[in-house]
């Protein structure tokens, strides 16, 4: 078996160790004897979404996100079709915001891809710090680090998790991120997957099931180091 993992615009969207997510997906496939092909989806190149199993998309600065905008309009239609077809997406920080309709700042409105019917509004106070979630996707608590001035309003979508410690989508609600079909969109970096191996495995399982159209049971891996790193955050940042 084999999965193709596309790293979307890695040269622009690489702010918070995001390559660690790609590395985690790759290694956890290889450790199970499953092939992984990492495809660096560079700006300006044609992207065949039908060929991809997982799309990883990371954070970037405001200037870089404006730069990316002109390339994003070109991939919008295919990307949306991929999402609707159940393609797996992991979108972190800026990528989470860009999946939505728009991002409104004090300087104006930036159009998003409109793949998700959500929007983000800028506020001067940045929401920064370690964060712990309870997610319905996995039994383990989800840990990470958030650093965003955007407040994202997710409407009727299911959140990625409920905040146990930290801020989340806005400072006033209990929710963080969102899930839609096989999309996980979140502000959590750290990077997300190495310290939350169950989330990583969930994405891998869904991608394999979609690719091979059969039920998949992933072999258990020795995850002591992952669990230890996760647990250290959970106990330091209690509810």
């Amino acid at each position: 078996m084999k999965l193709k993992i596309g790293h979307l615009y890695p040269e622009l969207f690489n702010l918070y160790g995001d390559r660690g997510n790609v590395r985690c997906l790759e290694k956890r496939l290889q450790w199970r004897g499953i092939d992984a092909e990492i495809i660096s989806l560079a700006v300006g190149e044609r992207i065949d979404f039908t060929d991809l199993d997982i799309v990883c998309w990371g954070g970037c600065s405001d200037r870089e996100s404006e730069l990316a905008a002109k390339y994003l309009t070109g991939i919008c239609r295919d990307f949306k079709a991929y999402v609707e077809d159940g393609g797996c997406v992991l979108a972190i920080c800026a990528a989470y915001q860009l999946l939505g309709d728009y991002y409104e700042t004090d300087r104006g409105k930036t159009e998003g891809l409109g793949i998700l019917d959500i929007y983000t509004k800028w506020a001067p106070e940045r929401l920064v710090g370690n964060i712990v979630l309870k997610s319905e996707l996995v039994p383990m608590p989800v840990v990470g680090f958030e650093n965003h001035s955007g407040r994202t309003f997710i409407g009727g979508y299911s959140p990625f998790g409920t905040v146990s410690s930290g801020h989340g989508n806005t400072e006033n609600d209990d929710y963080e991120g969102l899930i839609y079909k096989n999309v996980i969109a979140t502000y959590l970096h750290g990077p997300l997957l190495p310290k939350n191996p169950q989330i990583c495995d969930l994405i891998l399982k869904r991608a394999l099931q979609r690719r091979y159209n059969t039920d998949i049971i992933l072999e258990t891996l020795p995850d002591e180091a992952e669990h230890k790193a996760n647990h250290q955050i959970v106990i330091r940042f209690p509810t």
């Binding site: 040269e11 622009l12 690489n14 702010l15 918070y16 160790g17 995001d18 390559r19 660690g20 590395r23 985690c24 290694k27 700006v43 300006g44 600065s61 405001d62 200037r63 870089e64 730069l67 002109k70 940045r126 920064v128 710090g129 370690n130 680090f145 650093n147 970096h189 750290g190 990077p191 190495p194 310290k195 180091a225 992952e226 230890k228 790193a229 250290q232």
Partner: protein
């Protein structure tokens, strides 16, 4: 001088004496804090008494080293220099440097002031310090939870420079970020740069800017040093690396760096590629303010680039080198230096996440750890508050390591097991404590008893 200023200076000195007598901290910021509370104008009042020039050094990496070179060179010419040499670069530390140098009448007797300034404090400091020259060493990602993205840093320094529009701005022209920063300022600009490769196999690490800040096209590099530093240009709009006013030529490395600077060869004692840049930064600053430079080369040949922060120790015959690594590009450089040493070695990495370090450790994943998989690296041990993050990161890079809770026991244990060559890499909050521990072990061992 007004009474208020004299009172501020008096109180600062009392506090400094008390804190050093009681051995509570280095006394590098509290005196300044109190002085500024008593007299908020104290810094501008004292700074304008400097007889010749005030030079400020800011940027991500290399501030302390560059500032230390400036200070040593000027002092070698018999000049009196005010400097925050301990690297206390926040506003309080800057004020401390001045008030502690003032006499009881509130007068400053100094020819130059060389002041290291934290990037984010640049605006509040420049408006009062009023430097004649500002050196920006480089801009890299660093403590993003506190400092923010590189664009944020550039904007902060640009705002700071608006307070001193006549100040000579000295930048590393090989750094696209610094060039972008300088382009939005009205200050006169001096650049330094390096036209030849600093080292083979130098890992590049994350490049902060890949696309042209002016037009968005992909930048082209004729030469990459590390990070985004190199000889670059935009093939579309023509935005390019400026031709350096000051550069190093005929770079030669055999254990230490030698090169030609301003037409004269210099043989240094350092082996770190980035210190060529720091040396050029200091020279360019002195050159543009027309400070004496006749003794620059001899001072450089004797200069301690470790600033007492990255010391070497001998413990029971084992060579122990302490390195500071606080951001991806710095970490990668240190790993490169470890790899350059062909002798077998053990490596200890300590990662903390206090406010001093930055609470976000995701930057660890931006480092290329290839240099640790070299066969000369016998063991890797991780420690610190975030040891498990470091351990996890290495696991996914295929590098095995063990974790240890106590640095002192780890060092002693490794030496007991026969390590002759030990490298310790730590981020900021662990630096002073680790230095103290190593000093103590070294002096105890010299005293006789075996481990």
């Amino acid at each position: 001088m007004k009474l208020r200023s004299r009172l501020a200076i008096f109180c600062a000195k009392i506090i400094y004496m008390a804190s050093t007598r009681l051995k509570r901290g280095s006394g590098s910021s509290l005196p300044g804090h109190v002085a500024a509370c008593i007299d908020p104008e104290i810094l501008s009042g004292l700074s304008c008494m400097v007889r010749k020039k005030v030079i400020a050094v800011t940027g991500t990496n290399g501030k302390t080293t560059t500032n230390s070179i400036l200070t040593h060179v000027l002092e070698a010419h018999g000049l009196k220099v005010i400097s925050n040499r301990l690297g206390a670069n926040l506003p309080d530390g800057v004020v401390s440097a001045f008030v502690l140098a003032a006499d009881s009448q509130g007068q400053i007797d100094a020819d130059y002031a060389c002041i290291e300034v934290d990037e984010l404090s640049s605006e509040s400091v420049f408006s009062r310090l009023r430097p004649h020259c500002v050196i920006v060493t480089n801009i890299f990602r660093d403590q993003m939870d506190r400092i923010g993205e590189v664009d944020t840093v550039c904007k902060r320094i640009q705002e700071a420079l608006k307070h001193v529009p006549e100040a000579e701005l000295v930048i590393n022209g090989d750094d696209v970020c610094s060039r972008m920063l300088a382009d939005c300022c009205r200050n006169p600009v001096t650049t330094y740069g390096i036209g030849e490769k600093l080292a083979e196999n130098l890992p590049t690490g994350p490049q902060e800017i890949i696309f042209c800040p002016a037009c968005g096209a992909r930048l082209k590099y004729d030469l990459v040093q590390y990070g985004q530093l190199g000889i670059w240009h935009c093939p579309v709009c023509g935005f390019h690396r400026p031709r350096p006013d000051i550069s190093a030529a005929e770079i030669y490395f055999s254990g230490c760096y030698s090169f030609t600077l301003a037409g004269t060869p210099v043989r240094t004692h350092f082996r770190e590629p980035y210190n060529v840049y720091n040396t050029l930064a200091a020279y360019a600053g002195l050159w543009i303010v027309e400070a004496p430079r006749q003794k620059f080369h001899p001072v450089i040949e004797q200069f301690d680039y470790g600033n007492d922060r990255e010391s070497t120790y001998t413990i029971d015959g084992a060579h122990v080198q302490l390195f500071l690594a606080k951001n991806p590009v710095g970490f990668q450089q240190k790993l490169f230096l470890i790899r350059q040493d062909p002798k077998p070695k053990d490596v200890f990495i300590q990662i903390n996440d206090t406010k001093l370090d930055g609470e976000d450790t995701s930057w660890l994943w931006d480092v290329d750890y290839d240099n640790l998989s070299d066969t000369s690296v016998k063991t890797v041990t991780v420690g610190g508050i975030r040891s498990s993050d470091m351990e996890l990161c290495l696991k996914y890079e295929g590098i095995s390591c063990s974790s240890a809770a106590d640095i002192r026991h780890t060092i002693q244990g490794l030496i007991l097991q026969g390590s002759r060559n030990l490298y310790i890499v730590t981020n900021y909050s662990g630096l002073y404590r680790t230095n103290r521990i190593l000093q103590r072990i070294q002096s105890v061992r010299k005293g006789g008893s075996r481990l």
